[in-house]
Symmetry: C3
Subunit: 497 residues, 3 copies
């Protein structure tokens, strides 16, 4: 079935209208906070802050930039592994992240940074939160990569950010759960949101574009850029919003160790389950990151270095096995087509992270944390004064359920919307192909040049036909055959590059 | 016309002589400043600084590293989009930046960091300034990319840095204009400097190398590495030299928002003006950055979040339209060949940034800034005590003119020098081709291997010729034809990869 | 000789067992230190630390992240230059770094961070040290790139880290030498360790895989990602562990300048010694970094800006000449096959760095450093109170010898172990080829598709054979020939991509 992938009206309209809405809403609601406002010096004096270096900016900006790199280069390049969808991977990732962070500033602001004057006061912490929020939607993008139009992605992002903000508010403010690196809030929610959408948009004939649903040598190297920047900066991700001082410090150490551990077990399982012990790039690109996801919730807790290693150890195994067994199973039996395997990289490790967080919180004792440490780490203050660790553990578990419900429920709802036949999504045989949304030059040209040459060779042959004597007929037919088969080889080579 | 592109004498001589000059001049002039000198502890005591963390290093080093990445990876990879000029893009970028930053330390030092003992005292702020200065020349490189020799680039840089330092001194010190992110000082100057040089070096027959003046699939992905690192780290660029505390904080927020807004409008215009609504990688790679340029001057001002969004909104539109309409117009009617479209990415947004800065400065009020904030933000102190915002706005406008005059005038002057026939620049048909300045192996070899094979096939045919009986002559001729055409296809494929 | 490269048993076993050992050893030995522990607030009060920003985390985390990028992206991508070994370059680099950093935390901890309670207390400084330690092994990997199995690499890393920790302890603690950026401890040791292993594993018939021992156009661009991230972040590397305040500040300036200088002289020599003055990507990718290595030891000293330029100046020359003359010499006459040329990039500049450090230390005077500065910079305190600069210079020289002895001796020892025929290393004709340890799809498929087509063409010809009359026999033979030669061209093209 031929589908119309022309988004010449819908894409510009959505971009212009939504961006205009952002301008207006920012005009009404968003202002600088005390630390980014010109009145900072006054604020310093009032609050007796001794130096400019105490501005939250200097605590968090390096981590913010690392998170920013993860969102734009990390997620973007991780998805470039497909042979002919690199533009879409990195370009649409760019587009939806740029929109999403604006909308996130508003949504999260309304829920958590609204000042008494009705304005949202933003600073570096809000920027980090907005990037986190966007990460949830980019994870969802991973599940539907190559199968949706940019307009659908923008809709996915609009609703994704909205759902995220509500879910985050319930988890962090109402349930008072802790989730420093967002195992639940970001990864579990994002992955199930994307998987539910993918399930709603199930394409029974997707194997028609199976020729493009794989990598080539250099696209795998591009994807490693994404993997490594995610892997390296994950300690910044999990520590970006934790407490000043030991909170950030400890979250970095835990994440660093968990990730290191994951690499070894991912490699081990990848080698063990493949013919001749060869490693599979898909596992190295993805499963090696599972440890960072799974340690997200507990990163700021006293998980202890060996605890982090253990979490990473098992996540590497589970994630890699997921790629080997679960992804084909999900596609075949549950009709969930998961392009990037977000179920293995984000969903399962996210749930593990939530469980680890709940157990670690429930098991927290004054012996390990000290009285003051316990209060600070779990923020047992204000309305939550006197909460016990075991109750906190229960809240963490409840939070995980909220993330799951929002992810799956939200995904089904948004999936319904995205099934409307107005979004310009590609036909089953046109998935994973950049040429429907991008001007792709050069190789496309070579391919078509060869098709043209193929035709002209045929015409030439027809011309010569009458001159070739009967005894050469066989030769002639054969000539035609080898010409065609050679052209086909070159053609297939060009197209699949 | 065949030109001699051999730079075996000129390039080493220039590199050695200039680097030796740097060593000598550094020996005479450059010393550590109080914060990087071993006497820092003494300085701390004398100035009553309570902690090592108050060393300017900790305020600015993370931003410096981000700027460094923009200069070397950002600019370098952004220019790799050409199919056969990636070595030149990233390699010459590397070379001229490495030279330029040394010369900039000297030139800028003489103008602004000269101590009473006749020495230039350097610290992290000088390193950032040197990187900024180099950025101006790299922008100019974008306009002449692929059309000049490395020796010409070094000359361009030598004069570019010199002109920059003078222009910067006039703008920042004499006119006392503010230009945190260098909309005027860096972008306007750099872009017009490069465009004027490109105009002076106009190549009427450049279409002879049009086969190489485009991208291939993976070169576009490489270019996205440059785009994204520029985009992500632009907040650091605009905030690297602003005031400690709220100054850096606010500049980051403004730039972050402006850039996000630009992405959406660039995508919208790109889709709207292309056939079938497809996006053009050129726009995504370049126009999405225009918002960062345009918010450069006003980044530290109280532009307000929505103000930043508005600036980004319009710059995305203007820059993308520039790529669609203005670049062809400039080439056809004004004889300005602008390889990377720096007019759209740097020149126009730079001028807009200057104008926005002038208006914002002129409109500054005590209501918004507070009495103290106004003085701090605009540095209405010392000789400039009592300057009014409206006067400051005038100075900003004057500064923009200075940048334009230096850019265009300097470019014409340097263009004259670069027209001398001694620099080893390539002929019109050899532009955008790495093989004239780089050892390019392998694919070149495959191409030549095919040429050799083509010849040997012909020789073989001649040998067999006398054995083929007359009735087969047609077959023979045809054989020759298909062989040739197939080889041509493979050949063209290899060459254009 | 066909070798068995199947690592399906050995690789998973090594990964699982070693990672399990890490979990156990971490459980027994590793704990958070005072600055990453939840008791940090108590520690603050006890030690009268005024603010969370004084936590060492904020002094060192930005540098740590830069070092982390150098280790994983820098070293990883620098080695992707080979046309068909990019997976191995970046993937095995990832694997051994992830293992190495865990083992390094333990080994270095036992030697230098062991607390009175028998626990190793870790913080951000330990993470940096672990990354440094890993860097030594990654340098060694550069010498044997493409010629060893992943299991061999893990063994190389296990022993490399162990040797490093001992060598580092002797150099830094017993000899009390200073080595901020590890010219001796990291680069000299790592390079000679790798070279000695390569010498022990000499492959007399390595030219059998010479078709793969080179780059293609885009693999050279990938390698530039590694080069640039190493180059840009080297200032962070050399300053990551230096003293707070001026120590870090000065190390950054010295490294920045030395690297800039190296670029110009590398370019000059590369152009001077190649035909027609063309630049060689190998030199630009590698020799440009030599200045960072050579300034490592002295980076924190009062080397003066011009001193740094001079060091970089000569290292660029020496390193580039090394690639031109020394690498072929080493391979031919000393039987050392050095894939990445680590002798030119790390060994020689490392030794130079050690010598520069010794001279600079010996020449240190109170006039330049001040009394207090001298004590702080060289840590003439505690047991080493009253050490004279000249004695320190002697210790630095002794330290260089220790690094050399450990590198060469350790390499020979480990080389013996790696010669055992149990590690699954590739045969001489299979070196530099990813397909033996990685699932390589697509292009491999195209290549084999062509091989299959070649066969089917032959079968077709045989079928038609009896139908072709005698007069066409020549034509037939010729047909066979051109078909084959065309297929070969396409095939070789696909394989070498």
């Amino acid at each position: 079935m031929q589908k119309n992938t022309n988004v010449r009206v819908s894409l510009p309209v959505v971009c212009f209208v939504w961006q205009t809405a952002m301008v207006i809403l920012f005009g009404v609601f968003i202002r600088y906070n005390a630390e980014s406002d010109v009145r900072w010096r006054e604020f310093r004096r009032t609050n007796n802050i001794s130096s400019d270096i105490e501005n939250d900016f200097y605590f968090r900006y390096p981590s913010f930039q690392d998170v920013h790199v993860m969102v734009f280069v990390g997620f973007g390049f991780l998805m470039t592994f497909l042979k002919r969808y690199s533009f879409g991977a990195v370009g649409f990732n760019f587009l939806i992240a740029a929109f999403g962070l604006q909308w996130a500033l508003l949504m999260q602001g309304w829920f958590s940074s609204l000042d008494t004057d009705g304005k949202i006061k933003i600073g570096v912490e809000n920027l980090i939160n907005a990037d986190f929020c966007v990460a949830g939607c980019l994870i969802a993008y991973g599940a539907v990569l190559g199968k949706v139009s940019p307009v659908q992605l923008l809709v996915l992002t609009l609703f994704g950010i909205t759902l995220y903000a509500v879910e985050e508010y319930i988890i962090l403010s109402i349930l008072h759960a802790r989730d420093a690196g967002g195992s639940m809030v970001i990864h579990t929610f994002g992955a199930y949101y994307g998987l539910a959408i993918s399930w709603m948009l199930y394409r029974p004939n997707l194997e028609q574009s199976s020729r493009l649903q794989g990598s080539v040598y250099h696209s795998d190297v591009f994807a490693m850029i994404g993997t490594l920047f995610l892997w390296m900066f994950w300690p910044s991700f999990n520590s970006a919003l934790t407490d000043h001082g030991d909170g950030q410090h400890r979250a970095v150490i835990n994440t660093y160790l968990s990730l290191a551990s994951t690499v070894l077990t991912s490699v081990a399982v990848s080698s063990l389950f493949q013919k001749q012990g060869k490693l599979d790039m898909v596992h190295i690109q993805n499963a090696t990151l599972a440890g960072g996801v799974a340690v997200g919730t507990a990163a700021e807790f006293m998980l202890m270095p060996y605890g982090s290693l253990i979490v990473g150890f098992f996540c590497g195994i589970i994630s890699t096995l997921g790629y080997i067994y679960l992804t084909p199973f999900l596609e075949k039996h549950l009709k969930i087509q998961d392009t990037c395997g977000v179920h293995n990289l984000h969903a399962m490790p996210g749930v593990i992270g939530g469980v680890v967080g709940a157990i670690t919180a429930a098991a927290a004792t004054e012996t390990v944390y000290g009285k003051e440490g316990l209060i600070n780490t779990f923020d047992f203050d204000g309305d939550f004064k006197g909460t016990t660790p075991s109750r906190q553990g229960g809240m963490q578990a409840a939070a995980l359920c909220v993330a799951l419900v929002f992810g799956i429920g939200g995904g089904i709802f948004v999936g319904c919307i995205l099934r409307l036949p107005i979004w310009g999504d590609p036909a089953d045989e046109d998935c994973f192909d950049d040429q429907f949304y991008w001007e792709v030059n050069q190789e496309g040209n070579i391919a078509s040049e060869i098709v043209i040459k193929r035709k002209s060779v045929f015409i030439d042959l027809c011309k010569y036909n009458h001159e070739i004597i009967i005894c050469n007929r066989t030769t002639y037919i054969y000539l035609l055959q080898i010409t065609y088969s050679l052209l086909d080889v070159v053609l297939s080579h060009c197209v699949t590059r």
